[in-house]
């Protein structure tokens, strides 16, 4: 069967950027920068971008293209091509587990942004002008409390179903008609809305002249005033590397699935740099200028620090709606903020589902329609657990293992397999073949030695500082522990399911099959 292709290079880049640009760009980045040395944070940040971010982007794009033209767009098949060992394909199960697990809880958060877009336009949260009142609105919406705003979880469930349906529709339409079309429309819209919000924030000045310390400039100062002493703290360097990791969405197996729909000699080097550029524009310029500075202008630096410590979700869903209610045309700006987050979310969530869909099509010979139906039904059912057990730490557990620890682990395995097992020369040939820019040769050294060491340092530090605490559930109240075990059981069930499917695919002879690129065209 002919393998689908991206219609245009710009479409591919926008889809890759859509995968990379997510809620983290607008929420996680400013909080990380402000808490880790301000402007000084950007020194380890850009170093990590060069030593970890760009190398992993190129590696994943090249691996995907390599696998794709031999009929394998997901990690089990790609690993079995790169590493001729019977165990290789089983390491690839991580590349199916991680995106699906993250998708299960990401779908819920994405649906909140759609819901809040609607409430911004209808003015449903108008009048909730304090953190307590808006916190009550958010908890009511999430079904965690019954109050004057919500009597149940019906609204949240309605938007959850709508979000799942949008994801389903895009995936059913395939690469060109679905994902690429979504990116072609969604990404320019996202960038336009982000720039409009940046302009609105930068022209706010000092909203309350009686409080001259509460200004946008002081908000920008909160993010950018450098504390050079922070550079001596290894945690700041790890935080920067971690941020680069999450912002580029590397380590999920999703980028490989995207690039598997490229031709054998299509460029990946310039596509990788263009994707990184778009992501960094949305993060450093837009992300750093919207949420935190506007919060500082209305609440002051000290209160914003407290909000930021409360987490990104509180900043996005609790504090920002209060701010928008103080602005002329606040409902429109509120809609733009939440709809921007929704677009960032949906262009990322379709990417998270694509590896599983591609696996079923490539390795088990299913039709796209059947694969999308099965994956959508499973993830919809599993996401219900996240919605109804939200208060019990179900989402946090999935996020730590899949969205935090797992992605670094998979990225480490990827770069070792590509540069050490497949070989540095072969890997370099894959990255540079068809390249429309000259890739500096020093990246050969960086990718073989520096990037893996950086990833080991992140993994080692997390293993030492967080893993045992999470494993032993030290921070989990006793009444929530059955739910956390439930989240672990879900992940183990997904691992078991995909492992069985890899065995079935292996017995079908899928992993011994290598189609030539000519057959695919």
């Amino acid at each position: 069967m002919e393998r689908e292709r991206w219609a245009t290079k710009i479409g591919l880049i926008l889809a890759l950027a859509g995968n990379a640009v997510g809620l983290g760009n607008f929420l996680r980045f400013p909080v990380q920068a402000a808490g880790n040395g301000g402007g000084a944070f950007m020194i380890p940040y850009f170093i990590a971008l060069i030593l970890v971010g760009i190398p992993l982007m190129w590696t994943e794009l090249a691996m995907g293209r390599f696998g794709g033209h031999q009929g394998h767009g997901t990690m089990p098949g790609i690993f079995s091509l790169l590493w001729r060992h019977p165990a290789a394909k089983y390491f690839g199960v991580l590349g199916l587990l991680l995106p699906i697990t993250v998708f299960i809880y990401y779908l819920c958060v994405e649906s909140w942004t759609l819901g809040f877009s609607f409430f911004s336009l209808t003015g449903k949260y108008n009048g909730a002008l304090t953190q307590e009142a808006m916190g009550g609105f958010l908890r009511g919406y999430q079904g965690l409390a019954r109050n004057d705003y919500f009597h149940g979880i019906y609204w949240a469930y309605l938007f959850f179903v709508a979000t799942a349906a949008i994801n389903y529709y895009v995936l059913r339409r395939g690469i060109r008609g679905g994902i690429e079309r979504l990116a072609n429309i969604g990404m320019p819209l996202l960038i336009i809305m982000a720039i409009a919000l940046v302009v609105r924030v930068l022209t706010l000045g000092t909203p309350d002249p009686s409080r001259p310390d509460q200004s946008v400039m002081n908000g920008l100062g909160f993010i950018w005033n450098p504390d050079l002493g922070a550079l001596a703290n290894p945690k700041v360097w790890l935080a920067a590397a971690g941020q680069i990791f999450f912002t580029l969405s590397v380590g999920f197996g999703a980028i490989q699935a995207y690039s598997s729909y490229l031709g054998k000699n299509d460029d990946v080097a310039l596509a990788g740099v263009a994707t990184v550029s778009t992501n960094e524009f949305c993060e450093v310029i837009c992300g750093g200028t919207i949420a935190i500075p506007i919060a500082c202008a209305f609440f002051g630096v000290a209160a914003t620090q407290a909000i930021a410590r409360g987490g990104s979700f509180n900043l996005a869903f609790q504090s920002m709606p209060i701010v928008f209610q103080h602005l002329p045309l606040g409902n429109i700006f509120g809609f733009m903020w939440f709809f921007l987050l929704f677009i960032a979310g949906v262009t990322s969530s379709v990417a998270l589902t694509l590896p599983a869909v591609t696996f079923f099509v490539d390795e088990l010979g299913w039709t796209r329609k059947k694969a999308v139906n099965v994956i959508s039904i499973f993830t919809f059912a599993a996401a219900n657990l996240v919605i109804f057990y939200l208060a019990h730490g179900f989402m946090d557990e999935l996020d730590f293992w899949a969205g935090t620890f797992g992605v670094v682990l998979l990225a480490f395995i990827e770069i070792v397999v590509f540069f050490w097992v497949f070989g540095k020369d072969n890997a370099w040939e894959e990255i540079t073949r068809g390249a429309e820019i000259k890739v500096p040769r020093f990246f050969r050294f960086v990718m073989k030695y520096v990037t893996p060491l950086f990833l080991i340092a992140i993994l080692g530090t997390w293993a030492k500082s967080d893993m045992m605490k999470v494993l032993k559930m030290e921070a989990v109240p006793p009444e929530n522990r059955p739910y956390v075990w439930g989240a672990r059981a879900l992940m183990l069930a997904i691992i078991a399911g995909f492992t069985i499917l890899v065995v079935i695919a292996s017995r079908r002879g899928s992993f011994s099959r290598q189609r030539s690129s000519e057959e695919n065209i």
Binding site: K9, M42, A274
Partner: protein
């Protein structure tokens, strides 16, 4: 915001915009070519 803050913000924005400009010009050159 302090002067150092302005300097760090300007440099960071400059790097990002330079990266974006590089990508766009290369993509345009490719299209023309």
């Amino acid at each position: 915001m302090t002067t150092q803050g302005y300097v760090f913000m300007t440099i960071a924005w400059g790097i990002v915009l330079a990266l974006a400009a590089f990508s766009v010009t290369r993509l345009l050159r490719r299209k023309k070519g």
